[in-house]
C-alpha cells in the first residue's frame, strides 16, 4: 500500500468510526426518555450495538498505526472528525441531563435514514478490497438487520397514525434531508477510496439508498424533500453541535489521558 492509499483507507475508516460513535452518543442521550419503557430497552440496545461498531472501526485504525483506539475516539478535535453532519446534530433543545426537549419524530427519521444508509454501505463493504474491513462488515451486518427493521417500523407507523404525527414526521424529514448531502460523500480522498475498491462509488450507493427508500415513501404517500449539504463533515467541516458532543464524550478521559480507567 502506498502512503496515499493508506491515507485514503484511514479516511474511510474515520468516516465509518466517527459516524457510529456520534450516532451511538445521540442514541444514548435518549436513554430513559424514550416514549415508553419497551422502546427504551430496544433503542438503548441499538445505541450500544452502534458504539460496538464504532469500537471495531477505531480498532482497525489502531491496527493501521493511527494510534490507540481510545485516543482516536476521545481526543481528536472537531475539525479532525470525519462523521456526517446528520449524526452530530442535537436531539433537540436542552442538555441531556437537564430539561431536554427532544423530538421523537426527528429521532425516528434520522435513525431510519441513517440506518438505511449504513445498511447500504455495509452491504458494499462486505466486498471491500481491504479484508479486515470486509470481515468487520459481515459482523456488523448481522445486527443491522434488526436496527433497520426497528426504525422502519416506527417510520411507517408514525406516518400512518394521527395528523399530528404525520406533520411532525414531515418536518423531521425536511430537517434530516437538509443535512443528508454528505452521507455518501467520501471527502477529499474519495477518488483513491473508489480506485482502491475499498467500497463502491458514492453515486451508486446514493442511488441504491433512494431506490430502497422509494417503495416505503410511495406506500406512505410521502414526497422526499430536497437533499442538501449544509457542510461536508467528511472533510472536517462541522457544526458547533459537534464541539459540545465531544466535550461530553471526552470529559473523563481527558482528565488524565495517561491514566488507566
Amino acid at each position: 500500500m502506498t502512503e496515499q492509499e493508506r491515507t485514503a483507507l484511514a479516511a474511510l475508516l474515520y468516516q465509518l468510526a466517527d459516524d457510529d460513535f456520534l450516532y451511538a452518543f445521540r442514541g444514548s442521550e435518549w436513554l430513559g426518555l424514550a416514549p415508553h419503557i419497551e422502546e427504551d430497552v430496544a433503542s438503548s440496545s441499538i445505541a450500544q450495538d452502534s458504539m460496538g461498531h464504532a469500537a471495531m472501526y477505531y480498532q482497525l485504525l489502531e491496527e493501521l498505526g493511527e494510534g490507540k483506539a481510545d485516543a482516536l475516539a476521545h481526543v481528536r478535535l472537531a475539525h479532525e472528525r470525519k462523521n456526517s453532519i446528520l449524526v452530530e446534530r442535537v436531539n433537540g433543545p436542552g442538555y441531556y441531563m437537564e430539561t431536554p426537549e427532544y423530538d421523537w419524530a426527528y429521532a425516528v427519521v434520522r435513525n431510519y435514514c441513517y440506518t438505511l444508509a449504513k445498511k447500504i454501505r455495509i452491504d458494499a463493504l462486505k466486498n471491500s478490497s481491504y479484508a479486515p474491513l470486509a470481515v468487520a462488515a459481515v459482523k456488523i451486518n448481522m445486527e443491522l438487520y434488526y436496527h433497520l427493521l426497528h426504525w422502519q417500523t416506527w417510520f411507517t407507523q408514525l406516518y400512518q397514525a394521527t395528523p399530528t404525527a404525520r406533520q411532525k414526521m414531515d418536518a423531521a424529514l425536511e430537517q434530516v434531508l437538509a443535512d443528508f448531502g454528505d452521507m455518501f460523500d467520501y471527502g477529499e480522498h474519495g477518488d483513491v477510496i473508489e480506485e482502491m475498491r475499498l467500497i463502491e462509488g458514492q453515486g451508486i450507493l446514493l442511488d441504491r439508498w433512494y431506490q430502497t427508500l422509494t417503495p416505503t415513501l410511495v406506500e406512505l404517500d410521502v414526497t422526499l424533500p430536497e437533499m442538501r449539504m449544509s457542510s461536508n463533515g467528511r472533510n472536517g467541516e462541522h457544526s458547533a453541535d459537534l464541539n459540545d458532543a465531544l466535550s461530553t464524550l471526552g470529559e473523563v478521559y481527558l482528565i488524565d489521558q495517561s491514566a488507566v480507567w
Partner: protein, 323 residues
C-alpha cells in the same frame, strides 16, 4: 369415590375459607400465581413493593445515564450502556408483573406514572442522589447493585410466583453489574492519586445512602415499615437489619482491602453479639429523601415528567395505529 374438589373451588367458598386456603398454601410453600385468588392486603402489598422496585429500576437509569456518554474508554462506554439497558429491562419486567396485579383495580401503567409524578409512588433513596464523578458510576455498580443483590436474593423464594421468577433473571444480571462496578473501582484504586481520591470521596458521599438503602430496622424509626407483613406472607425472609448486617459482612473487608476508609469511626464487628456496630444514618433525612426532598429528586422527576409529556403525541399515535 365422592369427588370433593369442587369444595375447594374459590367461587363456592366463603371469604374466610378462601383466606384460610390461601394462608395454608403460603404455609405449604406453594407459589401464588397472577390469576389465583389472593386477599386484598396481599395484592396491595405486592403492588406497592413491586411497583416501587420497578420504578426504582427505571428512575435508577437516570443517575447512571449521566455517565454513559462520559465513560472514559470505548470498553467502559459499552459496559455502562449494557448495564443501564439491563436496568430498564428490569423495570419493564417488573411493571409487567405489577400490571397483572393491578388488573382487578382497572389500573394501568399510566396510573403508575401519574402516581410517580404526584409522589404517591416512591423510588429508592439512592436514586435521589447526585452522581458527581465517574467514581460514583463505579460505586453505584459495585455497592448499590451489591446492596440490591442482597435485598433481592432475600426474595428469590417469594410466595408470589411471577415476582420470584422475575427476580431470578434480575439477580443473575445484577451480579454482572456488581462486577462491572467493581472493575471500575479496581481500576481507580490501582490508578493515580487523583483517581484514588475520587473513589474515597465517592465512598464518603454514598456511605449513609447505602445504609439507608436497606430501610429502617423497625417501623418506630420512620413511622412505617412493611417488613412484618412481607415476612409473614413469605414474600421475603430476612429483616432490614439482617440484610444490612449481611452487607457489612460482605463489603466492609472488600472496601478496606482497597485501602479505602469507611466514613464511620465507630464501625466494628462485635464478637459477643455477632453484630456489626455502626453509626445510624439520619433517618429523618431518609424520610425526607424518599418523599421527594432529596438532593436530585425534583430534577430527576422533572426529567421523567418532561419526557412523558413531550412524548404524549407518540402514545396517542400508537394508540391510533393499534386501534
Amino acid at each position: 369415590m365422592y369427588d370433593a374438589t369442587h369444595l375447594f373451588e374459590p367461587e363456592v367458598m366463603t371469604e374466610e375459607e378462601k383466606l384460610a386456603r390461601f394462608t395454608e398454601r403460603i404455609e405449604n410453600g406453594e407459589k401464588i400465581e397472577a390469576d389465583d385468588w389472593m386477599p386484598a392486603f396481599y395484592r396491595d402489598t405486592l403492588i406497592k413493593l413491586i411497583s416501587m422496585h420497578g420504578i426504582s429500576e427505571i428512575m435508577g437509569a437516570l443517575p447512571e445515564k449521566e455517565w454513559v456518554p462520559k465513560a472514559p474508554s470505548l470498553r467502559r462506554k459499552l459496559g455502562i450502556m449494557a448495564k443501564v439497558q439491563d436496568e430498564m429491562g428490569h423495570g419493564q419486567l417488573l411493571l409487567r408483573v405489577v400490571e397483572d396485579l393491578m388488573k382487578p383495580y382497572e389500573k394501568t401503567r399510566g396510573d403508575l406514572m401519574d402516581d410517580l409524578f404526584t409522589g404517591r409512588l416512591k423510588f429508592h433513596n439512592v436514586f435521589h442522589m447526585p452522581t458527581r464523578t465517574w467514581a460514583d458510576a463505579g460505586t453505584i455498580g459495585w455497592l448499590v447493585d451489591g446492596a440490591a443483590i442482597i435485598t433481592q436474593t432475600n426474595m428469590l423464594g417469594a410466595s408470589y410466583g411471577p415476582y420470584a421468577r422475575a427476580l431470578q433473571r434480575i439477580c443473575a444480571e445484577e451480579v454482572f453489574h456488581a462486577q462491572h462496578g467493581e472493575s471500575i473501582i479496581m481500576a481507580l484504586a490501582e490508578g493515580t492519586p487523583e483517581q484514588k481520591a475520587m473513589i474515597q470521596e465517592s465512598l464518603d458521599e454514598w456511605w449513609e445512602s447505602l445504609l439507608m438503602f436497606f430501610g429502617p430496622a423497625t417501623k418506630e424509626t420512620t413511622g412505617t415499615s412493611k417488613q412484618d407483613i412481607t415476612i409473614a406472607y413469605k414474600i421475603r425472609t430476612k429483616t432490614n437489619e439482617e440484610l444490612r448486617q449481611n452487607f457489612f459482612t460482605k463489603y466492609v473487608p472488600r472496601i478496606q482491602s482497597l485501602g479505602l476508609v469507611i466514613p464511620d469511626p465507630t464501625l466494628r464487628f462485635d464478637e459477643e453479639s455477632g453484630q456489626w456496630i455502626y453509626a445510624q444514618p439520619d433517618w429523618s433525612e431518609f424520610k425526607k429523601i424518599i418523599q421527594g426532598g432529596g438532593p436530585r429528586s425534583k430534577e430527576r422527576l422533572a426529567l421523567r415528567r418532561t419526557s412523558y409529556q413531550n412524548n404524549a403525541w407518540v402514545r396517542e399515535a400508537l394508540a391510533e395505529t393499534m386501534a
